[in-house]
Subunit: 102 residues, 2 copies
């Protein structure tokens, strides 16, 4: 079973580490207990919406960015296609043909 | 403060209604109490990851789809740009020109 809290935890930890913050720093800024934040990061505790907002704020990452990253990771776990960032070749060819016919 | 549970609740209700299911039907399939599901839909209760997985399964909607939709809605609330689903006109023109030059 895919558990959203595990992905949320990993995403929060990744953003924290990308920004070079320690657990202690983020817990302090977000006013949450260090042990609790650690459990959230390890997917062992559900973060309430208030805690999530507070931690996102402490990390200076929009909540939407966190939730989209969570969605993308779960999509991989579900074996669903992720949305490509590039325009598919077929579409490029089609649009190109239409434009060159004008 | 933006609360993820409110957006999750609205997204779950929207998918349920789109599929023409009643609260009772989804609660039954997901094996959760009807009153609890109703509170989750109204953003009054946090759904645990297990409940979320169970409700997503009952709705036949991937969890990733739910989380991405939640991310998109929060992005609007945060005043951030949403990612366009269409190819920008400039890019289409550019690609078109390149293709017609080949």
């Amino acid at each position: 079973m895919i558990l959203v809290r595990q992905e949320i935890g990993e995403v929060l930890r990744d953003f924290r580490q990308q920004k070079g913050h320690t657990l202690r720093q983020v817990a302090g800024r977000a006013s949450v207990a260090l042990g609790y934040l650690s459990e959230v990061e390890r997917g062992q505790k559900e973060a309430s919406s208030e805690i999530l907002a507070s931690v996102a704020d402490a990390l200076d990452v929009p909540i939407s960015t966190i939730m989209r990253e969570v969605g993308d990771r779960i999509s991989v776990l579900e074996g669903l296609p992720t949305f490509p960032d590039v325009v598919p070749d077929d579409l490029v060819a089609e649009v190109g043909t239409e434009l060159s016919l004008r």
